[in-house]
Symmetry: C2
Subunit: 442 residues, 2 copies
């Protein structure tokens, strides 16, 4: 059997190595348009400030290691079309310009996303996107070689915030520009006040409701005619699924995303899809679709696809809760479940609780604020979110586990947290959210 994989990061490469463990015989070929594969995407920002001290720590497996595993990788090879009738992909060698066809028995499509850019700035030599290892390398070298002192980050999504934090920690002055008045718009805006406060504390200049109008050298003029010093510009305005090349095929797309079934299969019976470009459903609200561009879902689906390819166990993918979390300096923000937009049409009450993350008499206790959106009919949690300095991650994990297992707010009060004063409270915020909700719902 010959397996061709398009894309050599979390999704595609994890399928490759998991499948190789289950099947020693089949041929595995990976094409990736970028110069590097198998690196830790999520870790890239942390090298900017050298919080991650060594670049090589970001490499999961080297080309040699992959080769030793029996995985053939072709970097800087872009798959430009798929012929699912005759089972081949057309590949362009980006170094030589030549194209060729490669036949497959099974195909895994893991193309990821394409970072969006801004016409006003994208062609300037100091403009970068931040998505792949070579982007990090380029930006890192540019900062050093040009002794950059002032950076502009456009966008306040998680990449924008992570890069902002890291550039600041590297010693740069940073200005952050956001086109509307919403910082980290996936979170409730009253929670993001903590992020705005952190901008102030860290002396980072946040400019809301504005966009770049023109760039002249290192002078960036905004649409309100203010000018700012922009020796470095990071465009962090989101990603789009990189699936245009699939329009050559019969693979169904939905707004550019690839719908998949419970085994990761597309509508074509020997073509799987994985990673940032796939569309699945919320596990707890199966009639609503969701795309989650994070590493965790890619790793889970890789297991399902690898086992299905190898005809081993039939573990099924049953959707995602879309848990996400972000550290921004000393605060953490995160959420689980339906996005704010996807709450539309649901019938819910909101319950919010603020209390210390551990026994209040402990010297390092800090406040944690959480909110849950509870379906008034099923009493299940549709969404949870929060902010705090410590301990948000574990409460989201509890709510994610409870929700995945079909639990309701009535179960919340009985969630037995591991309690000792350094860790939690006998009435943990999770239990209190349960008490409060039951009081409101009954």
């Amino acid at each position: 059997m010959k397996l061709v994989i398009i894309g050599g990061l979390s999704g595609g490469m994890t399928v490759a190595s998991q499948f190789r463990r289950l099947d020693k015989e089949s041929e595995i070929i990976v094409y990736d348009k970028n110069p590097y594969v198998s690196f830790a995407n999520c870790g890239l920002p942390y090298y900017l400030s050298r919080e991650v001290a060594k670049r090589e720590d970001l490499i999961a497996r080297t080309p040699n290691q992959l080769n030793d595993q029996g995985i053939t990788v072709h970097t800087e090879h872009e798959v430009i079309s798929v012929n699912d009738q005759e089972n081949y992909v057309t590949v362009k060698n980006l170094q030589t310009g030549e194209t060729f066809n490669d036949y497959y028995d099974k195909l895994v499509v893991s193309p990821g996303g394409e970072a969006r850019t801004l016409d006003t700035v994208k062609d300037a030599k100091q403009s970068f996107i931040f998505q792949h290892l070579h982007h990090l390398d380029q930006m890192d070298a540019y900062i050093s070689e040009n002794d950059v002192k002032h950076a502009v980050v456009i966008g306040t999504g998680f990449i924008g915030l992570e890069v902002t934090e890291q550039l600041k920690k590297r010693g740069l002055n940073v200005t952050v520009i956001q086109h509307n008045d919403k910082v980290y718009s996936t979170l409730e805006q009253h929670f993001t006040e903590h992020i705005k406060q952190t901008f102030d504390e860290q002396d980072i200049h946040l400019m809301l409701n504005t966009t770049p109008k023109s760039l002249d050298g290192t002078t960036l003029t905004l649409d309100n005619d203010e000018t700012i010093d922009a020796e470095l510009i990071v465009q962090a305005i989101g990603i789009l699924p990189r699936t245009q090349f699939l329009e050559s095929s019969n693979i169904v797309l939905d707004n550019g995303f690839i719908p998949i079934d419970e085994y990761g299969l597309t509508n074509i019976d020997n073509v799987y899809a994985i990673g940032d470009a796939v569309e699945t459903n919320y596990q707890h609200v199966p009639n609503k679709k969701v795309s989650v561009a994070l590493a965790w879902p890619a790793h889970r689906l890789a297991y399902v696809i690898a086992n299905h390819l190898a005809e081993k166990n039939n573990h099924k993918h049953d959707g995602l809760l879309s848990v996400s979390i972000l550290r921004f300096f000393d605060i953490t923000v995160g959420s689980m479940g339906l996005s704010l937009e996807d709450l539309e049409g649901e019938d819910y009450i909101i319950v919010e609780q603020t209390q210390n993350n551990k026994a209040g008499y402990m010297p390092d206790a800090t406040p944690l604020s959480m909110r849950i959106y509870v379906d008034t009919h099923t009493r299940k949690i549709l969404r949870a979110s929060g902010v705090g300095k410590n301990g948000l991650d574990k409460r989201l994990d509890i709510l994610s586990t409870l929700t995945r297992l079909g639990g309701t707010v009535d179960d919340l009060i009985d969630v037995e947290v591991s309690y000792a004063p350094p860790f939690s409270s006998p009435k943990d915020i999770i239990n209190m959210l349960g008490y409060k909700t039951i009081g409101k719902l009954k």
Copy 2:
């Protein structure tokens, strides 16, 4: 209605205040044999080193606050017998010696445990137990007034370890004595190697397989004839349910513990029991009995009892998972589910995993070791345990939530943890335990 409560700590006092919120009319009387009520038991050790800086931070509610709430508290009043036929308790005023009867409509029994003592040392002026606020006060004053430099802690349960840590942090030399070769015997002994290593690192003298033979002044002679300097002796060798006074009644006891039903009722229909002296069942293995002397279960059961007393909601207590956790200097140990002894007769496999608590390239990633005991028939987790510097608490919380909701190891691989490099891994230890177990079981 007149409610009498025996015991004014986590169990009894939480019932009192929760019931008061639900019922403004009834009379609530609390008897406690000790001088203080409504303090944070679990926090007491941390005042020894002034990690908790102010003694008043350990007081949950003062007698005046309780009085304002309409809760009448009699401290240093010991209930010496219960007449459940005629519905009265006999109370001894420990200050005057007089006894009297007090009638109740409903009775809540929350007597807690009695710390065990050692005949060899218990009568010495430098010997203490560590259970109540006045014990802390006495020991704290004794250390200061006598400028104590050398302390001996007998026992390596969680009180022994917490007090050892705190005395060391206060600057004392500490010797710890354990009668057998097991440190913190509720945990797997290979995990407790980390505790032993911490003893070494902290320069605390650990003496195993020995017991005190005689005490002469501050010289403690052990059964191996070694002598050690014992200016302060802490007896931390466990607790027994303080239920002897109930032998006057028809309340059923089981090995000294009070069995309760799903509403916290004893066998007598107007007598409830709560706290360290009750016996319930494991939630996930209902045919096995368990007693958990911790604050978390007391707070949960208090809600059930208060609501049942007030004839409000019928939330039921359905047993405990017996989650426990302990910080000892920079390490954390903990467990969930059946005790090592209670595993007997179960049919299980053991799966263990050691990996970093977060993305390995993050500078503060530290190893975490966890073990799960999985029922080979039901595929449910009977017990989990582990050790690590950080992040054990949240993994135990996940396993506790999953187990309470009836989840199996097949659900483990899909537990959607909140992932970003500062918090976890795309293949979190929880997910890895799932993969490993499925591989072993199938």
